[in-house]
Structures are given as C-alpha cells and as structure tokens.
C-alpha cells in the first residue's frame, strides 16, 4: 500500500471515513475537515503505513533496546578469548593492526590486554558469559548472542547515529521512528516511542536527543524522553485554577484552529501538532498512572533491585516493562557508563553491576507475564573495545573498536541460548557470520512483520529505507 496514501490517512487521525463522507454530503456547503477532525477523533495515534496489513505475520509487537552507551568491551561481556589471556602484555601482532583506523590508540605502542575478568558457562546451552554479569547468566537460555557485529564509526555520536538510523549522516530517522511510521502506535495514551537514560560506572558520554529523532519522517514519530528520576514528565498536572474541563476546552479550541489550517493544506506537521496536543492532554492522566509504582509487589521490586524512579538503569527497566504493558511500541534505555578508556578493571564492574540485574529482571519479568514472546529485546553498545590496552597496566583500559563486538537479542522469534558468529582469536575482527548494523535492523523489522525493502519514505526525490541498500536476515539467531 502506498505510503503517502497512508500518510494522508494519518491526517484523518482515526476518523471514520464513512462518517467523514456522509457528513460532507449532508452539509454540502460546510464541508471541512475541521468538522470531523479533533473533537470526535477516536484517538490521535496512527496505525502506520502498514495499518491495513503488515508485509508478513509479525513475531513481535514491540522493541526494547537496552543501549549500553559508551561501548562495553565485548571481551569482558560475551566474547571469551582464552588466547588473549595467554598473550597478555605482549605486542599486538602487526598483521592485525597495520593500517587500521584506531581511535585514541592511533600511533601508540599496541599491547595485548587479556580479559580482565573470568568467564563461566551458563544455562543449558553452556554459553560463556563474563562473571561480572551473574544475573544475565541466569537468562542465558533466553538470549541469542551475536559475537560478530561490526560497525562503521569509531566515535560515540556517529556510531550511535549509525546504530539508530543506519546512516552515519545525522538527520535520518531512528529505528524507533521507522517502526512507528510503519506500524503506528498501539497506545493512544502514551507516546509510541519512549526513551529513558541513566548513567554510572564509567565515563558518561553525552547522548544527543538526535539519536531518537524522526529525521525526515513526520515529527510525531520521534522518541519522547521521559525523566528517569522523580516525575517522568514535568508539569504534567494542570496549573492552579485550571480544571480538567477547562484544560480540555483549551486543547479542543487550539486543535480546532489547527484543523482549520489543516483543512486548507495537507501538512503533516499540523497533523502532528494536533496529535501531540491530544496526546499531551491524555498523558496528563496516563503518566501519573504510569509512574504510580504502588501496585508493584515487593518481590518484583526485589527482582529489579531498585527503588522505582530512582534514576537507575534498573528502575528504567521496570519502567520499560510498564510502558510495554501499556502499549508503547518502541522503548530505548540508554545507560551511559561504558566508555572504559582507562581503569577498566575498577570501573567496568561498577557499570556491569548497574546494568546486570535490571537487564535480567526485565527479561524474567516480561517472560513471567507472557510478554517476552511478543517483545524483541536488544542489548548492546554502539561498538566494542580494543583487545589492545590503553594506558599503563594498573589503570589501563580499552579503546573504541568497530571491527568486532557483541550484542544480544531476546524475545519473540529469537532462539534462546544461541551464540552466533565469532571474532578472530584475539577478538579483533568479526570473521565468522559477520553481522552489520543493517542486518540487525533488517532482522528487527522482519520480526515486526515488516519487509525492510518496502518500508520506504520519499524525501528530496529519493526513497529512503532504514537499511539503505543493505540488510541480510540473521537467520542463525531465529527460532
């Protein structure tokens, strides 16, 4: 089905088409979109370009992306390299690094750094996971690790941009925006794409809100960042002297004015503005309910190991489950704390501790509630880290590394307990089943019922896709 046609349908925002036309006939002179839009709209949410049918049957309805911002070392998470341990302290063979692009290590003496922490086998699959992640170890049979990821950008922001948009050029839509554009939101009371951030355990590199931007897609598909600490949304209550009805009247009036303008021009941005006003109004009641954690029993809070709303990654994980339960389609949690250029031995365990329990709790909680089977969980950073040490032995860390790193996926359609692909003996470059970010995007869309080649948006004379001209299905991790 044609995208632009669907886009137009979005302008009608849930209005019954038959009503629309019946009215247009009964009030021949007074035909105006304004009559029908807004006041009676069932919802401001949009069903997406695939609202009349996905390309194929989906395995999952929603995505939770646990972004380990900063780039966690694959060599201390999921990619166990005994060879590296043996060669610890020796010079990195030239054959690996000659002519290679390095970040901060460019031009320095390259010495191998063995894994800083032990690994052990977990689950029935016997997956090797770093001992710093005891909780993730308990869900080993639910996750599929890809050890052969590679990316194109060696610095944080462009690497995030690439991971989110499939392009290193800022300004393209993020994968969450693409997902909403294709499938629409399932929630009429909350944004379809929500972002939460947390930090700790290492250098907290900043994350630009551009990472969850809609790019050239209509702006209602952008991610909405909620506060991790305290109230998720500031000023969500009406100011003194304004009651619910007064607020509703205000929103309705503003929207009816916007509708007049929209009746004259097919402007997606006006539709977005109207939808945002309506959504904001509904969020005045949905957000307090969302952040009311009183209904969460003690054993659930213990599972996550957090105090709700304390700004921690674990609290964000609990929030992610609550968002998912309420129909939010795409959720991103960024934990900023993995940029371990130095003192990896001291700070990596801190970051791991902050993330480990929440991650595992989220997977277990979703699974217990029957939600893991229609959710895709993606865990990983924007890149990995070098097998070479950066700095002196005691305070050494690892530099940015793009030729090989690990991510894991869990949820609907994913074959749990799988290890897919591998890097070379020193964990330098992906060698077997090399997997690109595009492949990850393609597989994500595939699980959502979307053919990545057919989810397109024409902009400046060109049809754009999340996967550009790339993207292979990562069959090896699918159930």
């Amino acid at each position: 089905m044609n995208q632009a046609y669907e886009t137009f349908k979005s302008l009608q925002a849930g209005i019954n088409r038959r009503t629309f036309l019946r009215r247009s006939l009964s009030s021949l002179g007074a035909f105006a979109l304004a009559d029908i839009l807004g006041t009676e709209s069932v919802n401001a949410a949009w069903k997406g370009t695939l609202g009349e049918g996905t390309h194929h049957l989906p395995k999952v309805k929603r995505v939770i992306h646990l972004c380990m911002a900063g780039g966690p070392s694959h060599l201390e998470t999921f990619d166990y390299k005994p060879e590296l341990e043996k060669l610890h302290g020796q010079a990195m063979p030239d054959s690996y690094t000659k002519g290679e692009e390095l970040a901060q290590l460019q031009g320095s003496e390259l010495k191998i750094m063995g894994p800083n922490f032990g690994f052990s086998r977990h689950g029935q699959s016997g997956m090797m996971i770093c001992d710093q992640f005891p909780h993730i170890g308990t869900v080993a049979d639910d996750i599929a690790v890809i050890r052969s990821m590679y990316t194109e950008q060696i610095n944080h922001d462009p690497a995030h941009t690439f991971f989110n948009t499939g392009s290193i050029i800022p300004g393209r839509p993020s994968m969450g925006a693409w997902t909403l554009y294709g499938l629409g939101s399932m929630s009429s009371n909350l944004p379809g794409y929500v972002v939460l951030t947390s930090e700790g355990g290492g250098q907290g590199q900043p994350i630009s809100s551009r990472q969850w931007h809609n790019g050239f897609l209509p702006s209602k598909f952008q991610g909405v960042a909620l506060q991790s600490k305290g109230d998720p949304v500031h000023y969500v209550n009406n100011p003194g002297g304004v009651d619910k009805q007064g607020q509703k009247d205000l929103i309705d009036t503003v929207n009816s004015l916007n509708n007049i303008q929209m009746a004259e021009r097919h402007d997606k941005e006006i539709a977005a503005r109207i939808a945002q006003y309506e959504l904001a109004y509904r969020m005045q009641s949905s957000v307090p309910e969302l952040s009311d954690f009183r209904g969460e029993p003690e054993h659930v809070l213990d599972l996550y190991g957090c105090k709700p709303g304390d700004g921690s990654f674990a609290s964000n994980c609990l929030m992610a489950r609550r968002l998912a339960e309420r129909g939010v389609r795409f959720i991103q949690l960024y934990h900023r704390g993995w940029d371990h250029h130095n003192a990896i031995r001291g700070s990596f365990p801190k970051a791991a501790k902050l993330v480990d329990q929440g991650t595992a709790a989220l997977i277990k909680d979703l699974k217990m509630r029957g939600m893991l089977e229609d959710t895709l969980v993606i865990w990983g950073g924007e890149f990995g880290r070098t097998p070479m040490a950066q700095g002196q032995s005691e305070t050494a860390g690892r530099d940015h590394h793009i030729k090989g790193f690990s991510v894991f996926l869990a949820g609907g359609g994913i074959k749990g307990g799988t290890v897919y692909g591998s890097t070379d003996e020193l964990g330098y470059a992906a060698v077997e089943n090399k997997t690109s970010i595009h492949d990850l995007h393609m597989t994500m869309l595939h699980l959502l019922g979307v053919d990545h080649e057919r989810l397109q948006f024409r902009f400046q004379g060109r049809d754009f896709r999340l996967t550009d001209v790339h993207g292979k299905l990562i069959k090896g991790i699918l159930a």
């Binding site: 046609y5 036309l21 194929h56 309805k61 097919h266 217990m368 509630r369 029957g370 089977e373």
Partner: protein
C-alpha cells in the same frame, strides 16, 4: 491620391520582401525549441490578447462600410462611405503587431496541438493580407473591385484566425449543444467508469481550458488523458495513484483560494467540495483507470453524487444505485466499527490485512463483559487477543474464545476469570498456542482441563492460586509446553 510609379514599385517590392521575411520568421517560430523566454519577450507575448483586438475593430469597421457601399450600389442613392487610408494603415500595422507578439506567445510553449498551428498560419496570412489591402487601396483607390476583393479576402482570413484563437482560449461556443447531445446517450449507472465518465467530466469542465491538447498547455501540463496526468507538468505529476500528497492537482485545488498556486486560477470557479472529495477518493484508492463506479468500493454517497452529476434524469436513479452497492460487510468497516465503539485496539497483519490482533490496552478499565459483544464482529479473523488487566470475567472471555476459531494467542492476565472459564473454554481453544492466565484466580481445579491443551507452546500461570505441585503436574503432562510460573 495617386502615387508616383517609382515609389509604388518600391513599396510593392518592400512589401513583398517584408512578407517573405515574416513568413520565414513564422516558419522558424513554428519549429523552434519551446521554452523559457527573456522576461521582456514574455511580456510581449502576453500582449497578444490585447493587440489582436485592434485589427479586428479596424477591419470590421472597413468591412461593414464596404458592405454598406455594396448595398448602396443596388440603390439609386449616390451616397457612399468614404474609405480611410489611416484606418486601413492602423489595421494593417496592428495586425502585424498582433501577429508578432502572437509568435512570442507561441514561443512560451504553453500551447500545443493542431489548433494553435492553424491559428498561427491563418494569423500570418491575415497580417500579410491586411498589408495588401492597404497597398491596394493606396495604389488603385477605394473604388476598384480589386480593393473590394482583397478586403473581403483578408477579413475572411481574420475571422478564421479569430475563430481558431477563440477555440483555444474560450472553447467551442457550440459545446453546450454537443454535451446535451452526449447526455442523451448516457450509460446506465452500472456501466459508468470512474475515470472516463466522472473524473474526465470534472476535469473537462474545470481544467481543460488551460491544460488540454488543442487548447493550452500551461505550465507544461496536459490533463486530458490519464497518461498525461501521470506525466504532469513543470512542477511534477498531476496524479500519483494512491498518493494525495504527491498528486499536485489535488494539492493545488485544496489550497486556499487566495493562494497564488490555487487551481483553477483566480477568476475561475473553484472545484466543488464534492468534486474534490470524489477525485481525492479516487486517487486515494489508487486511481484505477478502468474501474467501474458502482463496484469500486467508493463511498456510496460519492457514487450517488457522481451518478446524479452524469444522469440527465436524476429522479429515481439514486434508488437504482443504492441497490447496486454491495451490502457485503467489509472487514475494514468492521474494524472501524470496533474502534469507534472501543478505541484504538486492532492491528491488521499479513499482506491481506485479514489476520487481526486485538488489545484492550487503551481502555482496560472500561473493558468489561458487556463490551465483548463489540469485538465479536471481527472474531473470526482474530489470532491474538489481549484482554489483560481488564474487567472481563468468565462469561465475556468464554464468548471470545467460542467465536474466535483461529485464536493463537490469548492474554487474560489479571482478569476476573476463574476456573469455570478454563472448564468451558478449553474445547474451543484447539488452535491456541499461547495462553496467559498470569495473575488470575484459577486454582488446582483447572489442572485437569489445562492439561488437555497439548498443542500449547506457552502457558503462563504465575501469580495464580496454583501450587508448585500443580505446576509440576502440568509440566509433566504437557512436556512440549513452556509452563511459566511466578518468580
């Protein structure tokens, strides 16, 4: 007034050379690459409609005067209207001027077809003939039959030129008669084609004047054929099937009337709301070229409107049309009905969009047994139903499973259902792959029923009244099922 023979010869020679040069110019223009002209030349071209009326006035006066003189010749009166060389000279000069700016207008490239070529050559002919009339009057005087002959000849050429020009700009004056004749052979409503019989009529009425072959091709756009709409004009395609936003004709006629780009332009009647709604709906539906009006799935109100537009005798016809509208319930309408009643809740899967998922996530508190009726209309298509955390009880949940024969996933987590539901629903769940009873009140009474669901892949029983023993027993009896307990 008599002229010196030498001067006359010179004049004739000059006239012949000029005429030849003018024909050559016209010949070059008629074959020139059309396109952007310098602004000044464009202004010149735009003067054509003004200048062309000057020779018409002059020559009509001279013609009428000469006809009066002819008439007078048959009477006994000697009175004659005097010929006027200045007037003839003015007529001739203005006809040359009109012809030259006419060539400039032609070069702007907004016109195409046979008509414009005919107009061009007749116009060139008239200009040359008007010069001849002046020359003859100068050489042999107004009394000569030769003068009378060239005068009548050139005014005839002027009228032919004017006729073609008028056809291009103002359309055929006989058109009302032609349309009336066409209407008499109107098709019956069920034979009408959306594009050929409705869309073209609307476009013809509103757009062809400036955008049709044999008329004008303003902004490079022709609208008189389906392919021409797809090709579009200078700013893009007029029609992109399925895409209102990209179909510039729709965009332009939806603009505010005071917008410079609004079409039809200022001074012409805009399209009526029904005309816009009809063509918009057609474009939305993919702009099928040969679809019939009545089985197109187009909204019935628009179909009725279109047929009223086309049939001479609207009375009685509407009833016929309504009988022709298929009354088959349509999935899309049913989904709309459900969402009208309940809220955003239905997702359509697969290329046909006929595999449905329902979720009450947006109206959990309002969702109770009385609302279940509302979703039964789409039940046969449902594969995935999420009623978690709603007020639905055993009765409502039984209704869902007995009508949704293809159900693969059912989520009743934290609803009010109890053991009675399990007992009565189990037999209706033959295709179920995932059953979510997390947080419900079911107890060990349900165990013997649950274990009959051998085909289940996932069964969620956390936070229920079931004991660890119960879960153990279910797990042994359902070896192929993942049975999730609490944490």
């Amino acid at each position: 007034m008599k002229l010196d023979g030498k001067i006359l010869k010179l004049l004739v020679a000059g006239y012949l050379v000029l005429s030849l040069a003018f024909v050559a110019l016209a010949w070059w223009v008629s074959r020139a690459e059309l396109g952007e002209l310098p602004a000044l030349l464009q202004v010149g071209g735009n003067m054509h409609p003004l200048l062309l009326h000057l020779p018409i006035g002059a020559f009509i006066y001279v013609l009428v005067a000469e006809l009066v003189n002819v008439w007078m010749g048959f009477t006994r009166y000697q009175w004659r209207i005097k010929g006027s060389l200045p007037l003839l000279g003015f007529g001739a000069l203005s006809s040359y001027a009109a012809a030259v700016v006419g060539l400039l207008l032609y070069l702007q490239g907004e016109y195409s077809g046979d008509l414009i070529d005919k107009h061009l050559w007749w116009g060139v002919g008239f200009a040359i003939a008007s010069g001849l009339v002046f020359l003859v009057a100068l050489a042999v005087g107004f009394q000569s039959l030769v003068y009378r002959g060239v005068l009548f000849g050139s005014t005839a050429a002027m009228m032919v030129t004017g006729h073609f020009g008028g056809l291009i700009t103002h359309g055929d004056p006989l058109e009302p008669l032609l349309i009336a004749a066409k209407e008499e052979e109107a098709k019956s409503p069920d034979e009408l084609l959306i594009y050929e019989d409705v869309v073209t009529v609307v476009l013809q009425e509103n757009c062809y004047q400036c955008h049709a072959a044999d008329k004008k091709q303003k902004s490079g756009l022709l609208m008189d054929s389906y392919d021409a709409l797809l090709v579009g004009g200078d700013t893009g395609p007029a029609l992109v099937p399925g895409s209102l936003e990209e179909s510039l004709m729709s965009e332009y006629w939806h603009l505010p009337e005071d917008d410079d780009l609004h079409m039809p332009p200022e001074g012409k009647a805009p399209l009526t709301e029904q005309e816009k709604a009809f063509i918009d709906a057609w474009i939305e539906a993919g702009a099928p070229q040969n679809a019939k009006l009545v089985d197109s799935g187009m909204d019935e109100a628009l179909v009725v409107w279109a047929i009223d537009l086309l049939t001479v005798n609207a009375e009685g016809e509407t009833e016929v049309v309504q009988a022709l509208i298929p009354v088959d319930p349509k999935l899309a309408q049913h989904i709309e009905q459900v969402e009208q009643a309940l809220g955003l809740s239905v997702s359509r899967y697969g290329p046909q969009g006929d595999v449905l998922s329902f979720t009450a996530v947006n109206f959990r508190e309002a969702m109770d047994d009385s609302k279940i009726e509302q979703i039964l209309i789409i039940a046969p298509h449902l594969v995935d139903v999420d009623l978690s955390q709603t007020e639905v009880t055993t009765d409502g949940a039984v209704k869902v499973v007995t009508s949704a024969g293809q159900l693969k996933r059912l989520n009743l987590a934290r609803t009010q259902i109890d053991d009675r539901w399990v007992a009565s629903a189990v037999d209706a769940l033959a295709s179920l792959e995932s059953l979510n009873l997390y947080g419900t009140q079911i107890s060990s009474e349900s165990v013997p029923h649950l274990v009959r669901l051998k085909q289940l892949k996932q069964l969620y029983l956390g936070e229920t009244q079931l004991s660890e023993e119960d879960l153990k027993s279910i797990r042994t009896q359902l070896p192929d099922t993942v049975v999730m307990g609490g944490i």
